[in-house]
Amino acid sequence: MTTECAKGGAVSDTAKRARPVETLDRVVIRFAGDSGDGMQLTGDRFTTSSAVYGNDLATLPDFPAEIRAPAGTLAGVSAFQVHISDHDITTPGDAPTVLVAMNPAALRSQVGRVANGATIIVNVDSFDDRSLSKAGYDKNPLEDGSLDGFTVYEVPMTSLTKGAVQPLGVKPRDAERSKNFFALGLVSWMYTRPVERTLDWIEARFGKSPQIVAANIAAFKAGHAFGETAELFDHPYEVKPAPLPAGTYTNITGNTALAWGLVAASQLSGLPLFLGSYPITPASDILHELSKHKNFGVRTFQAEDEIAGIGAALGAAYGGHLGVTTTSGPGMALKAETLGLAVNLELPLLVIDIQRGGPSTGLPTKTEQADLLMALYGRHGEAPLPVLAPRSPSQCFEMAIEAARIALTWRTPVILLSDGYLANGAEPWLLPDVQDLAPIEVSFATEPNHVDAEGNASFWPYLRDPETLARPWALPGTPDLMHRIGGLEKEEGSGNVSYEPANHELMIQIRAAKVAGIAEHIPDVVVTGDVDRADLLVVGWGSTWGAIDGALGRVRQLGHKVAATHLTHLHPFPTNLGEVLKRYPKVLVPEMNLGQLAHQLRAEFLVDAKTVSKVRGLPFTASELEQAILDHLGGLL
């Protein structure tokens, strides 16, 4: 089948529609199926179509840790939620208004999440006795009235897909595998998504196998045509483009934005990027992405373990590279000793923790924010270091650069806390002008900085810059600056091994002062909402920003006076944070942990910060936070 032929036929575009199109301001669609059904791919593709169409959007991939749990079981359900809108949005939506369920297990596991009155599209072919029983249904939910509150469309996706694909010579077993493209075609019709780019994408993605290209295109077209011709749906919907600021956009996940931010930091600092990493969910995609960009001089080293990952990054940093290691919670625990060494060596190093549900293996594919106190304190001895956290997928780009700037300027390891939701979630990103990105100044020591008792010039590796307290960075290979560094306590100035009690205390205080001093060089916190007079301040950090922003808008629409601030710098805190916290009678801190930031705020500022906690492996929804804010405003809590 040729390309032209593949793209012809039944696929129509919006303009030719005979039936009226109803305009919606937003829709939340959840695709759910077996792990092997390609739901992530389907959701991702629908997202890209919507992004290119100009909608604002946010996504929430939600998949099991098992690569292929037994087919048809609840454990194997993989879902992808996307929120598309004609206005600025910050979350993947609360309850889905549309659920596409490819089998009974998908329906059963997801139906509790969807909104009342939602549209549910099921692949009715998969609702046989065996699949129903695997999903734990005694009776067929399509027949027992349990779905009466929803608008249910029963679509025989498997048989229609087979019918469309088998004439191409595809074996029956393989034919069924294209059914996710049938679903994509159908939903693309329902929401009048442009189809051309999807067809191009199928060709690019599966180009190595012309038969698969043809099968997927045929299935997509069949789904699209089904929507158009079946009398099932009265009319398609449209979500118009959102009025976003002018510029060029791309759709980006947090992990890709982080990887690109690291490449940018490398270019802005003029230092080659070295990533030492060990594969771990949900951080591995950063390693995958960076390993593609060798023409930027990026070295990616897949180490034998987490400790070697950070060790190699530290070794590269000693040699003058921008050393980075990426991991998640269990790996962070293993890196703790090397982080302590980096604190003592006072070398720049980036440690990126894509937090997931813990402790231990916990929920590897689900999100959580419970590594904050580990990042702040999880080393032996007094080992302070800066901790940062991006608030949205696209902001991962600038936070990677910010983390590099701090590490390189103050010669310190820096921890950047992302999480599984930011890592895999996507949103449109207004691309920055590369020319506007500020360079990161890096200076290496080139000459002796001290004269010894005999009058000889020598090099003191711990003779600090009085402004930043950073020590000089002398690269191996520089003549006359040979020196030794290590984990043993150093004498301030000379860097010689020292067991002097007073020197040890001095060094501990200097290292703490160095990190604390960074506060003078980071942005103040910004308060949004009813800045001047609010009854309650919501303080967030990391990926909760979207849900807090959404909730704040709703609560204010109800007439309440509330404000919010969101921290990207968690250590040291911005210098105005204490004053901001004390400005408002109530402080509420939503976190995907049991109250770790609240603990910090209470300890540091003596404010009665209250916690809103959620540790279910899922991000907050705006409505959950709306309710929490209202509860606290009402004085009930």
């Binding site: 780019r197 060029t248 290979g477």
Partner: protein
């Protein structure tokens, strides 16, 4: 000799010696290893600033402080990992790793074998004294079964590692053994290890006179050497003992075995070949002695050419640069689907 080489300043041991006071126990075998390295350095034709000694934790790990080069005293067992990052980032440097039997084979065993199999360009000196010295006398992964130490009052139950066997098992491209009683031999072996492109591992039998005194004297003392050390010399039949009366043959049933040359004839002796692609014969040689109480081979067991890891890493970068041009950040940000909002 290229112009750059002629510019390398002439140095003496003093130039390679730091101003730090050496703090090993008096009589420690580490002193003679340090001397051998400091004496070797002026002969290598390299600059001090291009040399980095990376160490882990243990008595041996203090080594970098005593060298007037760049140095990094890191954490227990991790020196090969840290050195790997440095060697990949900076192929222009000469990176040495100094480690001990606990550091390299116990807590850091994983990093050691992976550095060796990758063939990173680092020279690893493994000081083997069969004891934990810095923690004051517990048994190590190379201690013999039955060893009574502070942590094994009833004798150690652990079967020991043979470091040369471990390295050969990891397919190291250069593996050698020497001992702290023979400076000349140490310098010769260290020099060979330095010249090798890729990972080089040298096991050094080193006496801990405080916690494991005389562990190797049964084979390394002047009186015993002739009968107890089997020198490996590339291209020569493997012989040792008074009048070279003993030798090693490859028996089809028993593998490498020690024989009286008179019994088998000179022609039957195994000719040592460091460059065998298959490490099996070198491995058999490493198993000749079950511990430093039996005739033990020293010298270079294996020296083969295999692509150095950093070279391969940098080649991929150069190839990507060549085929795709230098990285363009603007283009990277636009490499996915993009759209314009007016």
């Amino acid at each position: 000799m290229s112009e750059a080489e002629t510019l390398i300043p002439v140095t003496t041991r003093k130039d390679w010696t730091s101003d730090q006071e050496v703090r090993w126990c008096p009589g420690c075998g580490d002193y003679s290893i340090l001397s051998a390295v400091q004496l070797l350095m002026p002969d290598l034709g390299i600059r001090r600033e291009d040399v980095v000694f990376v160490s882990g934790i243990g008595c041996a790990a203090r080594f970098p402080y005593y060298m007037n080069t760049y140095g990094m005293h890191t954490i227990h067992g991790r020196a090969p990992a840290i050195a790997t990052g440095l060697a990949l980032a900076r192929p222009d440097l000469h990176v040495w790793v100094v480690s001990g039997d606990g550091d390299a084979l116990s807590i850091g065993g994983n990093h050691l074998i992976h550095a060796l199999r990758r063939n990173v360009n680092i020279t690893i000196l493994l000081f083997n004294n069969q004891i934990y010295g810095l923690t004051k006398g517990q048994y190590s992964p190379t201690s013999e079964v039955g060893k009574v130490t502070k942590s094994t009052p009833f004798g150690s139950l652990d079967h020991p590692f043979n470091p040369v066997s471990v390295a050969l098992g990891a397919e190291a491209s250069f593996v050698a053994r020497t001992h702290d009683m023979d400076r000349k031999h140490m310098m010769e072996v260290f020099g060979r290890a330095f010249e090798h492109r890729g990972s080089a591992l040298v096991e050094i039998y080193q006496n801990c006179n405080v916690f494991n005194d005389g562990a190797f004297s049964g084979i390394t003392s002047k009186e015993q050497r002739e009968e107890m050390l089997i020198p490996l010399r590339h291209g020569e039949p493997i012989r040792f003992g008074k009048d070279d009366a003993k030798g090693v043959i490859l028996d089809p049933q028993r593998g490498a075995v020690i024989v009286d040359v008179a019994d088998v004839g000179e022609e039957a002796l195994l000719v040592h070949d460091e460059s065998r692609g298959n490490a099996a014969v070198a491995f058999m040689l490493s198993r000749l002695a079950r511990g430093p109480l039996e005739p033990t081979p020293i010298g270079v067991f294996r020296a083969v050419h295999r692509q150095e890891y950093g070279e391969a890493v940098n080649q991929q970068i150069a190839d990507a640069h060549h085929s795709r041009g230098p990285g363009d950040l603007e283009a990277l940000l636009r490499s996915g689907a993009t759209w314009d909002v007016e």
